[in-house]
């Protein structure tokens, strides 16, 4: 399926959970926040949250800023 992660559209396996997506990106266990289609996905639900074709995924973290 095609999904957009941080603004870039790419092919990913079907029936992917949020946990599996983060693991495939090397981001498992990182401190980050996840938003899918402009809705926050809470960390406690990553295992059960299924990503659908066309989903727009944002993965953010904290960086230096004033």
């Amino acid at each position: 399926m095609n999904i957009t992660v941080n603004g870039t559209a790419s092919e990913y396996p079907d029936k992917l959970s949020a946990s599996e997506l983060l693991r495939s990106l090397g981001l498992a266990d990182k401190r980050l926040a996840l938003e899918i289609n402009e809705e926050i996905v809470s960390r406690s639900t990553y295992d059960n949250h299924v990503i659908n074709p066309g989903d727009r995924v944002e993965i953010v973290h904290a960086i230096g800023g004033g």
Binding site: V5, N6, G7, T8, L25, G26, L27, K30, R31, L32, A33, L34, E35, E38, I40, S42, R43, E58, I59, V60, H61, A62, I63, G64, G65, G66
Partner: protein, 270 residues
């Protein structure tokens, strides 16, 4: 100075109170524009700041996921993190950013709200900032709001439930210092929430002036990170804030046009 007075000065508690939490330091610092994380860590440490701002941005997909992250050097266990909405030009982007920050920081509700008007001035868009404030207050956020130096608007944000109001002293990153001290003073006099100067400070005397005007604190980033020696400037800013605060509490002498001799007139022998 007598030891009694000295003891009193050292022990007199003068905490900054924001949203019910006491802080010893009245200097708040940003973490942007440093050359690396080690410099960020060292300057933040030298500033003595307890509240530290961070930005929320996309992670780099496909790049080295093991590169060190900001929160490894600015630990949420040691500092109160203040996620900002820098870069947002609409209320909805700012609200999204705050919600992501809350998720990122495990339910943390203290945020620095800034909604910008244009790239040249980085002045706040007050209409959008008010719109975002309404949504975020209802959503349980504790908002420290970046605003202009308009006393009417500052009071409006306080009435809306912001936990601190942060007027700019000059444009972000400009280092121009306190451009309108009279307005800052009016904002301070009207306020019953903490007023912090946010943006525009260039050097330690600017920070001291903000504090002498009665501000509760100063938030700065570029003035430290952009200095030739950021760690030394962080230390200077810490002292500037402390000196300005003590001077404000001490109560300065009134300005007079003409001289007033320091030595007694009586008892002269000439």
């Amino acid at each position: 100075m007598s030891s009694v007075i000295q003891a009193k000065l050292h022990t007199s508690s003068d905490p900054l109170l924001i949203a019910g939490v006491e802080y010893k330091s009245r200097l708040l610092v940003g973490t942007g524009k440093y050359k690396d994380l080690e410099e960020t860590r060292a300057a933040t440490e030298a500033s003595g700041a307890e509240i530290v701002t961070v930005a929320i941005r996309r992670t780099n997909i496909g790049q080295n996921p093991n590169e060190p992250s900001l929160l490894e050097v600015i630990s949420p266990d040691k500092y109160t993190l203040l996620p900002n909405t820098a870069g947002c030009y609409t209320a909805s982007d700012a609200v999204r950013t705050c919600r992501l920050a809350r998720e990122l920081l495990d339910g943390h509700e203290l945020v620095k709200l800034e909604v910008l008007g244009d790239e040249k001035t980085l002045f706040p868009d007050i209409i959008q900032t008010i719109e975002a404030t309404e949504i975020l207050v209802k959503d349980g956020f504790k908002i420290m709001v970046y605003t202009n130096d308009d006393p009417i608007i500052a009071k409006r944000f306080e009435d809306m439930g912001c936990v601190a109001v942060m007027p700019l002293a000059a444009p972000i990153g400009s280092g121009l210092g306190i451009r309108n001290p009279h307005n800052i003073r009016t904002i301070v006099e009207n306020a019953s929430v903490p007023i912090l100067v946010d943006a525009g400070v260039g050097t330690a005397s600017d920070a001291a002036i903000a504090m002498e005007l009665g501000c509760d604190g100063v938030l700065m980033n570029t003035a430290i990170a952009g200095a030739q020696d950021p760690v030394l400037m962080a230390s200077a800013m810490k002292k500037g804030i402390e000196a300005g605060r003590e001077a404000f509490r001490a109560g300065r002498i009134p300005r007079k046009r003409f001289a007033s001799a320091s030595s007694p007139i009586d008892g002269t022998f000439f």
